[in-house]
Symmetry: C3
Subunit: 351 residues, 3 copies
């Protein structure tokens, strides 16, 4: 176990469409994992390393619900038990098993539990609730444009990026507003969850909501509320209303920002733009997709990777960074996460 | 000296056609070596590093039997002695010499001795004897299709691959038989040599022998006997006979599998398919070449490299692998090699 | 501070034309630096790392003389002081400053001081004086063809290369003479400066001077005098005269060879060919450029990089190299530099 990661946690493993009858290799918390679906569609996650010669099982092929290693034909079921040794007298060695990772499909995502399987409880899967928006499990109620980026940076640097949306104004010309004026910025912690609130009253609409149909010249009260839960799950409630009107009357453009560490220096970034407005408008969906990829892939990714390159192996806080007002949420999230990882260390030590 | 390697040993350095009047750089056991031929054709191996500025000598040019360094013109003879210093008063510094490695041409291969030159005895070059097949030095008696691959994996992982041919059935569709049934599997150690025997009685012919003309529907007794000598020299006696008939009446398709470590994580794999059947049939030679490269380059290489990637720096046995019946020969070979390397360590310590 | 480098020294940072209103990232002595020009043209060098999130400032944009970080809009002046925090109440944290490196433009080059800024004195910028040639600050008096290579090798290996020009005869067919005969070779140290003198009397003209118009068949006395100052600044006085005539009557083709370490294993090599002969002849300038790049980029660079690859992390002197007569200057330069670095270490320790 590395102290870089929280293990007792549900992480996003994949979008449901990524997990198919063709095995998929993906690395989480430095552990190679193979993902595939049973014939009845239920997803499976096994360590991607055959216990015989340590070849990736994802190079093998499925027979029913079982994976056959490409190298010597050992066969494993979705629990990771070896069900066939085609050699000698067919005895299955006691150590011929692979770790099975608990998985669950929820809220339009496939989740994986990276701690001890006995501790996995699907009821503890984080709820990605967004104010004034349908529940994510109600897929018909909204449109989603999702994607995944692999970013060559530590996941906490991406958390910092997302909890401090003041960067939008500088880094994302397509998303920013012409004349920003943050009326109020607040940070709240509830239990281990943190929300970073930005409000801009009587201002201009941003690029995303303009795309979704809000007239550029119609003055708005805007909000951008990023909600964080450990280890690195964020939902963003972005929206506008006519000046002085309640949120329910306005327009919302929420998004998901869900990070799963691949290693200390590389991160899966699952993102999605959600909307109820024009939810069946395929052309709009495509426009939102292009806008989002421009921001995340062309603007955030190279800057965060350059940041990681400048940092090298140094932990950012150890360098005594200048801290600004909008860093409050990121600093707090870092502290919550360090506390959870420290608790994990103490617990492991006491076993 | 690294304990990853056996130094007092003859290794395959090159196919004879690879060593020419153009110097060739090649790394063996982490040592850069330059290979070339004298004007009379005899091969030479020198450390590929000029003792003056440590530039690779292989960047230089030959003058007669001597190599001239490209950088400042120091000249070295095939013994590694400096014969010309074109600078100052021409005095040759005492340290201006390069290590010369003993070489020998034998059995259609160029062999190099990686231990102390004083210990090199060409009479100890391993004999690659194949039952029921002409001696390899008798080049006119057989056809050979050879090649070399550079594989990004430790050589012992490739030894494991070759000593457990049960993988053919899973990894090599072009070589396998339609309906395998191993009648008997045995492993024998004689001195430091190990042979892994597979017999399949009353079965079908494999892909290679079919290519060589054996009718697909004519039932056979098959054998595949892999013979290993340290450090990593293997010959494979593959063949079929009509059911119940002696080997001499059947058809043989032997092959060579000779490994020379480049480093702990990279290996030269010299392979060759041999045959007496249709030995002057160029079209058949080409078909065998294509079949072999498909198996070694497209099927074995990526799997073994993925295995090495999963292992990282871990030694495979330290991970407690599940061992199956056909692993017996590989485990034994590993033990023999470890014993020889331990003896080398003790001997070095006692000097 | 690394003992691989001398910090209290002026290094070449760039050719003046490379530093513009577009920020340029360049690494010196393992430190990332951003270079740009003020509106009035004066160059600026700041650490290329924002003290807030450590993103390279060179990704930002200039507003007047100030750089705006691309990520959160912190603004820094040419002294490295933060002048604007666009967040919260705008308070500028005490640690929000970046290191400013002293710069100076002199002799057609931009120089940077890598030690403590308080120690920087532009009067100590090394003078690149070339015998029988105009002062380099008198730009109208001569033509220059310059360039920069990034070489994957330690800078001292390139110093060795330059102080031992005997390699020209072996490595550079375009520059060498047909029939070399070094009449005299000498090495002189004056203070910390070293000059390596080569004379060839009554010989043939070299490739460069031939290009500049000296008839191939007109016998010459030649000289090639490489002058070194620490840490790695070299000027080469190359020229010919009719036999027995004074230098002032002959033709000169001097050049600059100025090295700035990027890291222990990578070096900026700033070079330039200078001439008064045909100084307005653009076709000649192009021919000289092609000849120079052939020598430095196609011939020196791959050999020095192969040397570094063979050396790995070993320091060359620790391997007991064979030393030849023309190594004297390089060995002496290495000793001078080690002495200066040792003095720096002692001084740092006594603080």
């Amino acid at each position: 176990m590395s102290e870089a990661f929280l293990y007792k946690a549900w992480y996003v493993a994949a979008w449901p469409s990524e997990v198919t009858r063709t095995p998929l290799r993906r690395v989480f918390l430095e552990q190679p994992v193979m993902l595939y679906r049973r014939e009845d569609g239920r997803p499976v996650a096994l360590a991607d390393s055959c216990p015989h010669r340590f070849v990736p099982l994802s190079r093998g092929s499925l027979v029913g619900d079982e994976i056959v290693c490409c190298y010597h034909g050992l066969r494993f079921n979705p629990d990771g038990a070896c069900t066939l040794n085609p050699h000698g007298d067919g005895t299955i060695p006691a150590v011929a098993k692979v770790r099975a990772y608990p998985l669950a499909e929820s809220q339009g995502l496939i989740w994986i539990w990276m701690g001890a399987a006995a501790d996995a409880d699907p009821r503890t899967i984080p709820v990605l609730s967004i104010p004034h928006f349908p529940a994510l499990d109600d897929a018909d109620a909204y449109a989603a444009v999702g994607g995944r980026l692999s970013i060559a940076a530590n996941y906490e640097l991406i958390t910092d990026n997302l909890l401090d949306l003041s960067h939008v104004q500088f880094l994302h010309p397509g998303l920013r507003v012409a004349n920003p004026r943050v009326t109020r910025h607040e940070m709240k912690q509830e239990g281990n969850a943190i929300t970073s609130y930005f409000w801009r009253d009587e201002g201009q609409v941003n690029g995303l909501l303009k795309l979704m149909g809000w007239p550029a010249d119609r003055p708005v009260d805007s909000r951008a509320h990023m909600h964080w839960q450990p280890p690195a799950l964020m939902t963003l409630d972005v929206g506008v209303t006519d000046v002085g009107r309640p949120v329910a009357e306005g327009m919302s453009a929420p998004s998901l920002h869900l990070l799963t560490p691949e290693s200390r220096e590389r991160t899966h970034y699952f993102f999605a733009f959600l909307r109820t407005v024009g939810k069946d408008d395929a052309a709009l969906t495509e426009k939102v997709r292009v806008l989002g990829l421009q921001a995340f892939e062309q603007e955030d990714k190279p800057v965060i990777e350059a940041q990681q390159m400048n940092l090298g192996e140094a932990e950012i806080m150890s360098l005594g960074p200048a801290l600004l007002a909008p860093d409050a949420a990121g600093v707090r999230a870092r502290r919550v996460l360090r506390g959870l990882i420290e608790a994990q260390r103490v617990e492991a030590g006491s076993v």
